[in-house]
Homo-oligomer: 405 residues x 2
């Protein structure tokens, strides 16, 4: 089967590499069909690349080639990936992607277009890189009512937090190392402010509960406010700080979904996820907690998930995989701040007498070098709005959600 | 769609419960079809059970009912489950199962019979209970060459080892508590001697590498020789003892597969798997290490995996899922003792001078209360046969493999 790759960056070049290095085994997985890359679309030149003969700068070379049945879109971004993908699906070609931004923003239209045209739009690589999560969530856990999902969905921020927790580095030092190692971009905003994790939360929520959730509906807070003092207090509490995407089922017509730093207690499978690794924990009513762990990014891990989707397309020519969701609506994702109760970590310039007059039941934390006018504690469960009301007259330095995963 | 359940024990009654408690959501997953339990086969009586009208003691009531398209086999054991399953597949019914003993021993015949008759034989619940592992391994990781698999595949032994490690209980005390909690059977042999884990290793190895591996080919050692002294030394080494099933790819015509206690260093995702939880770590050439974690047993977790397979059958009526493997052979699983190199933990009545004269490079371990005539250490990598040769004149108390997962 002839295939094409759009975007020859890290993931796209990995896709070509994985297809070539697994040419012996892929036909065994598809039931006979080999995958052969016929076109590679990229506006850049790659002089000396061994695939020089395959490069094109003209999308129409792929669109109009009837031999090409499956296309990997590894361009990233919404434009022109959306336009290209729509045209390919309408032309009867299946498309597989690692492009979380596109799936999170335009997944509904793309899935509907795929269905109308009897082809597949698959996106295993868009959440968790190489970690199998889309199929396990939709197929293996199909007999569960999903109660919630919590995920460490961004490797860069998890690396930074790991360096802060284990090496005592400051946020800025850890970010610099992440950039030096190539884990973080020069402009690290999308990672450290949680936008990347937010897109993955949208995809997981849409899949798990059947209605499209858009990035604008998911309140997102990054890790740039986390300090070593917070890390130290939370170590005293028996936990670690992770950037978590959390999704909670409320009822048929509403869910909560948010991205933020969160205290995860040691003993949770999420607490032991270190460095650039990702993990997704799914809580089902029958199965309880299951957790999927692995490399959330990287050239070959992500590429291997893209190629697995291509293999699935090749195996199921002329029949569609049922993955997808329906339309969402504005009120579908509720304001978690007024609905979801949880404990909070609070650090403030204050004293115990004052805190005890506000909160009925807190657990105080300590750290080496703690100033006498600083307190840190874990509250009882309450909504974030209730917390805000309670602390409105306090000189608060930081607050962090405490998760129950 | 009418379905039947054979065996109304823990898992079977859970299957009926999950189907009933998810009657609203299942049709959304199948694409419209509800699942309706028409027959429950069990030789026992269940007076007062709300499903009394569905019980039968006659297998032919299921076999000869043309309305029944999918049957859950949750009887356990090879006989009569094998005979019943063969007849059902030949009659054009799909069968799903949690019966690892049957899949490990007769999977090849059953999968071939399913293929010949255009029906499905699915067994997600047979490895790792509720943890999705069969589909992730065969579909999501399809673009990987699997290099190895290591799994904590038995909850009972993991619970016992956790109690020994965290509470300082002896093996016998921990076993007693496992029995009191219902985790271990009165006759706990199948769990503690590793036979249950061995069956799961067979299924994983068969799926990952495409040739049937039988329990008799997998050398299996249980945990009954593990003492608190070993636990203590290995804590000093920065690790924990787990009962691991390990599978290693050697070449197209050979693999290694064995079940044994193993030292897992802290930092491995397998080290943090506690109590009755299970985990399977898969190492792929492209993806690296991915790990699947969750409840490896239990009524509703296992039942939810069985029902997910039934949903898959209902979704894919008249088309087959491609899961399976070919025939194995006697030489396919090699003698790991002469082929696989690894470090070993050794405890002996000896002294450092003697040990240093035998081993060129060891790492000594200590424990509280260590007698002056006892040494414990981690060796350099070598085969188990090489180790045996080296220690043949030593007064060895215990040796344990050290894993690289």
């Amino acid at each position: 089967m002839k295939v094409a790759v759009m975007g020859y960056g890290t993931v796209g070049s990995g896709v070509v590499e994985v297809i070539e290095s697994h040419s012996d085994s892929i036909p065994k997985k598809t039931g006979g069909e080999a995958l052969e890359v016929k076109h590679i679309l990229d506006l850049r030149d790659f002089p000396g690349d061994s695939h020089e003969a395959l490069f094109t700068k003209d999308f129409n070379d792929i669109l109009n080639d009837d031999e090409v049945k499956v296309v990997a879109e590894t361009m990233g971004g919404v434009n022109p990936a959306f336009d290209f993908t729509m045209k390919l699906l309408k032309a009867g070609k299946s498309v597989v992607t690692s492009n979380k931004e596109l799936v999170a923003n335009k997944g509904l239209e793309l899935l509907n277009t795929a269905e109308e045209n009897g082809v597949n739009y698959l996106f295993e690589a868009s959440v968790g890189g190489g970690i199998p999560i889309i199929r396990p969530l939709t197929q293996c856990l199909a007999a569960n009512h999903i109660e919630g999902i919590a995920g460490i969905l961004n490797g860069t921020t998890n690396f930074i937090l790991t360096m802060m927790i284990e090496k005592g580095m400051s946020f800025d030092e850890a970010l610099k190392i992440a950039q030096d190692k190539g884990y973080a971009e020069k402009d690290p905003t999308a990672d450290i402010e949680g936008h990347d994790a937010c897109r993955k939360v949208c995809i997981l929520a849409s899949l798990a509960f059947g209605k499209h959730v858009y990035p604008s509906q998911v309140e997102t807070q990054g890790i740039s406010d986390i300090t070593l003092e917070d890390v130290s207090y939370i170590n005293c509490a028996g936990g670690v700080i992770k950037l978590l995407g959390q999704i909670k089922y409320i009822n048929e017509d509403s869910i909560a979904a948010f991205v933020s730093p969160a205290v995860v207690y040691n003993g949770s499978q999420l607490a032991s996820v270190k460095d650039v690794f990702n993990a997704v924990l799914v809580r089902g009513d029958a199965v309880g907690d299951v957790c999927f762990y692995g490399p959330g990014a990287g050239k070959l891990p992500t590429a291997s998930a893209v190629v697995a989707d291509m293999i699935d397309c090749a195996k199921h020519t002329n029949r569609r995989k049922i993955f997808g969701w329906g339309a969402g609506d504005e009120d579908y994702v509720v304001d978690y701040k007024s609905t979801i109760k949880m404990p909070f970590y609070v650090r403030a310039k204050s004293d115990c007498a004052k805190i005890n007059s506000i909160f009925s039941d807190v657990r105080y934390l300590t750290r080496t070098g703690q100033p006498s006018d600083e307190v840190a504690f874990i509250t009882d469960i309450m909504t974030e709005n209730e917390l805000k009301e309670k602390i409105k007259d306090l000189n608060v330095i930081n607050t962090i959600k405490v998760t129950n995963y």
